[in-house]
């Protein structure tokens, strides 16, 4: 098993290398001349040529890729074209709101989705089941920004229960922090809930039809314990897997949610960077998110080997 873990960790290296190559090509093939942008409003062509040379923009692809990778490995993601600040600094400033949003969403979504899926499976074919599944397919179909605006309109503007926008760091108190995250988390969580609820229901149905659960039922164990203790434990692998895969959904959704709710996180940084074509920032964010995604799924993979000794590699 140790060998497997080692191989599994090593296998992420080529993956990140591919991501790195893609991300670097992004800047290399980007239209527009960073030198012209850096020179500003009223620079002359000579100024631009001078800046291009200082930046080393005139060297071949592989040389620049090598140098760029070297810098990345040393934690240097370059400098933002528009703010002249290191990309790592700019990303660092934005990490906390995004991580907070994702954690709150994660907790909320799992807390809602798993029971929903279990109940739907338990009462398969009933009205509740239909309702949950209908909700799930709707969750996949309504765009996240529409949900966001409707929630903000009702709960923030009309009822005034929660703040409309912004983010308060957790250092300033748990409630101020949480209150700013409730609406965005519900917005962002909807698709995720739909996803997890469906998978939970399906795996639960599968587990419930297996012999040992039937035995437990026959032995007269009450419905609740049977479901939760036996079945859910055995359904854990696919559910946890889909939670890991769904992180990609959260990342994509965060871009939109943070824009709607004016949360100064990485998602909004992405949108700002896109509109300004600030390629070093886009590179940094894509690298970071991909790295996190790979890491989370790596963790989940490794977790299986501990969770279920029957899995052998």
């Amino acid at each position: 098993m140790l060998g497997y873990i080692g191989r599994r960790i090593l296998a992420t290296i080529p993956v990140m290398a591919v991501v790195g190559l893609f991300v670097f090509s992004l800047l290399y093939f980007a239209p527009g001349d960073p030198a012209a942008i850096i020179a500003g409003d009223q620079a002359s062509p000579e100024d631009i040529i001078r800046i291009r040379a200082t930046l080393g923009l005139d060297r071949p692809f592989l040389v620049r890729f090598g140098e760029w990778s070297w810098h990345i490995l040393h934690g240097d993601l370059g400098t933002s074209i528009f703010t002249n600040l290191p990309v790592t600094t700019m990303i660092g400033q934005r990490v906390q709101p995004t991580v907070s949003l994702m954690l709150v969403t994660l907790v909320f979504a799992i807390a809602v989705a798993v029971p929903l899926g279990v109940v739907a499976a338990w009462k398969a074919g009933s009205l509740i089941d239909r309702l949950v599944m209908g909700l799930a397919v709707t969750g996949f179909s309504v765009p996240v920004f529409v949900v966001g605006y409707i929630l903000a309109y009702v709960f923030a503007l009309q009822l005034g229960w929660l703040p409309v926008q912004g983010y308060t760091p957790i250092e300033q108190g748990l409630w101020p922090w949480l209150s700013h995250l409730i609406l965005p988390a519900v917005t962002l969580g909807l698709v995720y809930i739909a996803l997890i609820a469906r998978v939970t229901r399906a795996t639960m149905l599968d587990v419930l039809s297996q012999d040992y659960v039937r035995t437990a039922r026959a032995k007269g164990l009450a419905q609740g314990p049977v479901l939760f203790v036996h079945a859910l434990k055995n359904a854990a692998v696919p559910i946890v897997t889909v939670i890991g895969i769904g992180i990609a959904l959260l990342i994509g959704g965060a871009v939109v949610t943070e824009t709607v709710f004016a949360i100064p996180g990485l998602g909004r940084l992405t949108v700002d960077a896109i509109l300004r074509r600030d390629y070093p920032i886009i590179q940094g964010i894509v690298l970071l998110f991909s790295f996190v995604y790979v890491l989370v799924n790596l963790a989940i993979d490794l977790f299986y080997t501990l969770l279920d000794p029957r899995i052998r590699y």
């Binding site: 080529p14 591919v18 239209p31 397919v137 996949f140 990609a248 994509g252 279920d308 899995i311």
Partner: protein
């Protein structure tokens, strides 16, 4: 439950392809992320039952009818009481919905109803073009990877890499390279979706290779194209069709998101995403500008998802019993 042993010793369990696949979990529909289908789809002979299932399955009918309506709307747009969706009338801006302007007018006095009706064309075009292109390209990549063993490692590393970039982020990054247009949006979303199809196809190919009749064909010296044509393609079609439906839904949402954040289709071509983007600043006072395209987009994506669910149930009866 017993997690199946990873069938391919060389396979790196990766995002989107967990160890042991996602056994018996139905693929979630219409994610902005394409549905993670199991790597290995058990091959079954069931084509004769398809129509029975379609008839028995109401979701596919409801979804199909809804989709048909949207299709007709897109096709017949000029004859549905619309005006030029790009014609400006700044003197008649932000009018509420009325007998003259069914869905009101936007900030530049354009008729929202006409824009929504014409916008159906963009959503459908993007959805179906991406579904088709990503399927074809993914099929090619998946076949190469599954059939040509020495290439498999390299191709799969690239696919793994691409799949570890969240699809919306990948599409956004690609759009940054180019200017907004329907064509570029289609290309960007297609690239983001290809790896998932490729993985699916490769999974099918690898499981088929171990089937006795395919092994027999290989050992008797049947040429590769013939094997692909006779054995591989027919069996790939069913899971790919289901996958393509979900890609279609996902592409529609991604297009709307790209246009909404200003990195997609420019407003000179009305799309549901950019109509909403245009109305975004006024959502507190003129909610209808966002509301109508939102309803149409949601309904259309829902329709595609329903069709997808229906197809999945029809084509894979084993899953059908769960849903």
């Amino acid at each position: 439950m017993t997690a199946t042993v990873a069938p391919f010793p060389d396979r790196v369990p990766q995002a989107g392809a967990p160890p042991g696949g996602l056994p018996k979990a139905p693929p979630p529909p219409g994610l902005a992320v394409a549905a993670p289908l199991p790597d290995v789809i058990p091959v079954r002979k069931h084509r004769g039952k398809v129509w029975t299932y379609v008839r028995r399955n109401p979701t596919i009918v409801v979804g199909g009818v809804m989709l048909l309506i949207v299709f007709l709307m897109a096709l017949l747009a000029p004859w549905l009481g619309t005006v030029d969706p790009t014609a400006l009338a700044p003197a008649k801006r932000t009018r509420m919905p009325s007998a003259q302007y069914w869905f009101g007018t936007d900030m530049l006095g354009r008729d929202v109803y006409s824009r929504v009706v014409y916008g159906a064309r963009v959503s459908l075009l993007v959805g179906f073009a991406v579904a088709f292109l990503a399927s074809v390209a993914g099929l090619a990549v998946g076949l190469v990877s599954g059939m040509v063993r020495w290439l498999d490692g390299v191709v799969m590393r690239v696919v793994d890499g691409m799949m570890s970039i969240p699809p919306i982020l990948l599409a956004i990054a690609l759009m940054a390279l180019t200017r907004g247009s329907v064509q570029n949006v289609i290309i960007a979303i297609t690239i983001a979706e290809i790896p998932r199809v490729a993985r699916l196809v490769r999974g099918v190919v690898l499981s088929l290779r171990e089937q006795p009749y395919v092994e027999a064909a290989v050992t008797t010296g049947t040429r590769m194209p013939a094997i692909i044509w006779r054995h591989i393609l027919p069996n790939t079609l069913a899971p790919m069709t289901v996958q393509a439906t979900y890609i279609c839904a996902s592409a529609m949402i991604t297009e709307a998101i790209l246009s909404f954040i200003g990195a997609g289709v420019p407003p000179s071509t009305p799309s549901w995403g950019n109509i909403m983007a245009e109305g975004r600043a006024l959502w507190q006072v003129k909610f209808y500008i966002i509301l109508f395209p939102a309803i149409f987009l949601s309904m259309t994506v829902l329709a595609v998802n329903l069709v997808g669910d229906g197809l999945r149930d029809a084509l894979d009866p084993r899953m059908a019993k769960d849903v």
